[in-house]
Symmetry: C2
Subunit: 547 residues, 2 copies
């Protein structure tokens, strides 16, 4: 395997000949700050130096995206699909190099990263299929009724059209599937929107390698330069400038509550407010009903331990709160305690995340009382002065009663890392009320047996109003990429519960309906022409048909 040399360029775009391993002109600008990636397993800085984009870079990239927008909007679904498929193909061709760099920058094991690359490629191809098939545009045709009284009815038709330039923020915890060529980028390009990626500074080399794949694909298929831009920055300046730029039409973000809420405010305070889809994570409550608890205590304990420590607990779908009967079998508690106690310190994505985890854990211990610590794994070694330290965390389980839990709203705050709270209830009838008190969630999970069904029905009804996805006898970590997936949920899980950020329906974030009244057939988009040249499904006079 040949390692691909990194440029550390502040900006990557097809027109900048990004694949050449030489510094881009932006690097010469004196205002351009520089930064390094770090290996979280050792704390060591990684070469090369990366350069932060400037506000002038943002202006230029946004102006090019604005110019590219009509071209991408008028590209056919098949043309957009070709771009997505070429990106997928080129990613696979560079997979060893990308995974090698990603492993260095994130500390994630290569097996996980190879799996994530598979998911990334699957997403790109799923959106390619969606764009090529074409029916996602919700074409609607109401035919004219020239003889209607008292006034004739005009011919009215409508379809979803792209919003325009979309800013995508790369996520720290999925350096491939929710970053430069992740689901947001795939959905936006499939919708016909130019994409401006603000790379996550924790994995700039991975981001550069992926961005260069996209730039090369854009160039190879002759899409305009502004179809895709990649901007680096170690701080918040460039992200804020992108969100405020008048040419930008939508924001997609996956990350922390604080970060997402800051972007929501920026988007709402613009002279022309724009949609901001922020997926900010949640605590993903798990409800273990009495019969399930007694029927398979060890299986649930093992599943829970695996789920809340998967990826070192750095998933937005990590279960953070588990409701279980006060008189849970000893085997459940013993199994969970011994599994957790035996865990080594778990690698974290960055030293910042590791530090924040320790601070949050300390605050929670103080808030809930030290007696609330039910089980904890081996603590990471203390840092020796003057030496870099590995970013690690100890898996930790808290436990307390339902009333104590409900009295402390801060316990509902997400802690990003391997920790979970066990909440003991006396009567399962209390759970629907507890569910009503929960903040908005990405997921809610029930463990239930046949004899629990009567309890489960009202609980599910209550949870439906609080979560985007309801899971049965499984764990919420793992988000299937498919048509029916909803990776969303009421605030603060996301900024807008009406949308999902995973699955084919996530394309709806980046499109708006446009209506054509009595427009002559040759001027209509093919999706709305009477002959239906693309053969898509349409709603014709209220009836769905493929004609």
């Amino acid at each position: 395997m040949t390692t691909i040399p990194l440029t550390g360029a502040a900006v990557l775009r097809s027109g900048l000949a990004a694949s050449a391993p030489k510094p881009a002109p932006q690097q010469a600008a004196p205002a351009s700050a520089s930064f390094h990636a770090h290996n979280p397993a050792t704390g060591a800085a990684l070469e090369p130096v990366f350069h932060s984009a400037t506000e002038a870079d943002v202006d230029h990239a946004a102006a090019l995206a604005r110019q590219a927008a009509p071209h991408l909007a008028s590209a056919s679904g098949s043309q957009r699909a070709s771009l997505l498929r070429l990106i997928a193909e080129k990613l696979l061709a560079s997979q060893p190099q990308i995974v090698e760099r990603a492993a260095l920058e994130t500390g994630l094991p290569p097996a996980r990263l190879n799996g994530e690359m598979g998911r990334t490629v699957t997403q790109l191809r799923l959106f390619a299929d969606l764009a090529a098939e074409g029916s996602w545009v919700d074409a609607r045709i109401d035919e004219a009724q020239p003889d209607r009284k008292p006034t004739p009815r005009p011919a009215v038709c409508s379809m979803l059209r792209p919003l325009g330039p979309v800013v995508v923020f790369g996520a720290s915890n999925f350096p491939l599937a929710f970053s430069v060529a992740g689901g947001d980028t795939a959905a936006a390009l499939a919708a016909g929107c130019p994409v401006l990626v603000k790379a996550h500074p924790a994995h700039p080399g991975t981001s550069e390698l992926v961005a260069r794949v996209i730039c090369a694909s854009v160039a190879e298929l002759g899409f305009p330069d502004g179809s895709f831009s990649h901007l680096a920055d170690a701080g918040f300046t460039i992200g804020s400038a992108l969100v405020r730029h008048p040419a930008v039409r939508a924001i997609a973000f996956t990350g922390s509550t604080a970060g997402g809420q800051a972007l929501m405010r920026l988007a709402a305070e613009r002279p022309e407010p724009i949609p901001c889809f922020a997926e900010m994570g949640s605590v993903n409550p798990v409800f273990i009903l009495p019969q399930a608890m007694h029927a398979r205590p060890e299986a649930i304990a093992n599943g829970l331990a695996a789920s809340f420590t998967l990826g070192s607990g750095q998933f937005c779908t990590k279960p953070g709160i588990v409701f279980l009967p006060r008189h849970a079998p000893d085997s459940f508690l013993q199994s969970l305690r011994s599994t957790v106690a035996a865990l080594p310190p778990l690698g974290m994505l960055t030293s910042t995340i590791a530090t924040r985890f320790q601070q949050s854990l300390a605050a929670r211990t103080q808030d809930a009382g030290t007696a609330s610590v039910f089980a904890t794994a081996a603590c990471p070694p203390k840092a020796t002065e003057g030496t870099a330290n590995a970013a690690t965390a100890q898996a930790t389980v808290f436990h307390l009663g339902l009333e104590d839990f409900l009295a402390r709203p801060a316990l509902q705050d997400e802690i990003f890392g391997p920790t979970v709270i066990l909440v003991r209830y006396d009567r399962a009838e209390q759970l629907a009320h507890a569910a009503d008190r929960l903040h908005g969630q990405l997921t809610a999970t029930l463990h239930a047996d046949e004899a629990d069904l009567a309890l489960a029905a009202p609980l599910l009804a209550a949870l439906e109003a609080r979560a985007g996805r309801l899971v049965w006898n499984a764990f919420p970590t793992g988000v299937e990429v498919c048509h029916a997936m909803v990776h969303g949920g009421p605030f603060p899980a996301t900024s807008d519960s009406r949308f999902t950020s995973v699955g084919t329906a996530s394309i709806l974030r980046f499109a708006r309906p446009v209506c054509f009244q009595d427009i002559p057939d040759p001027l209509l988009p093919p999706e709305l022409q009477p002959a239906n040249p693309l053969g898509i499904e349409r709603l014709i006079n209220g009836v769905r048909a493929r004609r």
Copy 2:
């Protein structure tokens, strides 16, 4: 016809026995302010006195709506349809009384109000059909693949579920079709959301009569009390309190830019932000291309005069800017000028709107120069001191060159009333650039002939990015209620261009997708059960089918 006595109650709800013509208990509260409707044709106050709701009323109504939400959410589409159809039936039974009161309160002619009642009933029945048919929920089913490697695929299905309590603000200019039982209420109830109406204070009697129809329908069909509430207020306190209430889940508003933007801010600044759909109107540009101008100057002039003065120019789809060739035929200009000059003062909805129109007209005359006034109708008589005055306005046409227009962004501000700006262009090639400079619009219209088609194509492409509806050789006033309609558009036309507020797709404002993973069949909503008991269309493994 028997006039129905009005109560002037601050709050109407089925549980308050609202149909009895006696003061509701809220009226006795000392904090409750009182107000009157006024006849805009005479300025006279109309009986009876109306009472403003209190913040305690808001708390109570919102709490009841929260309680009602799960009941409405679990009501079948057919049950929701029955409610909408009963409201329509009862509205028709009270139509003479409602129209009589609405004519007094708004000055709108009975013929127009009877037409608006027809539209209101049509909307209710359209949403009833949509709810009863049921496929609008976008049911998606991805079947399990237990043998998939490396991990089995779970069964995942999803559908749109109601958001919860929706606050609807009645509009001044459509006392029936965009008010208490208007499109927003119909869409929200069809989606399964309780509705809290903040009545528009300009037509409180009309609002009360319609609200009592809805309350009676809710009671007759046994829906819970909180399914619908109607709150009166002459000021902004109650509207703000409703938007801020934690039980409220979405806002629907049709009205001014200032009002809509205030609600957007309130909704975004809540501890838990909620979707706010504000339709704030626009100037609906009309582009007359050279050949069309020369082929039928008088027809276009007459159509324009009729369109910008329809309803005294108090439509959000009123054409406010018309682009026409500098060398337009004299017959166009003469025809427009003489038609406008011959118009009598036009009745306005309220004295406040009439006063604001005069102020805006004066500011525009100053901004664009007095020479810009191309034609004006007879001015309303000056008010005599001490006497009430009719609320009227004089139709007024401005004209200026394209460069002058583009140099004055304030000319893009909507003036609510019978006025339009003619903008003269030298070359039709300038128009796509001008279109790029326009603010977001509900509509954009082209008048074009065969020989204009080459000019029209790039102009349409530019306008698509700026408007929700593109109209060909007609005028934008008049919004067809159908499946394909888009009454929406980029900010500032609306708060979110991804939604429409007219047509069946407007139901999507009030629903969110919820996903069910491996949930046992008996616990799934009928829409997602394998046997498809409702017979709706669903997306099964990516393929749409009615099975």
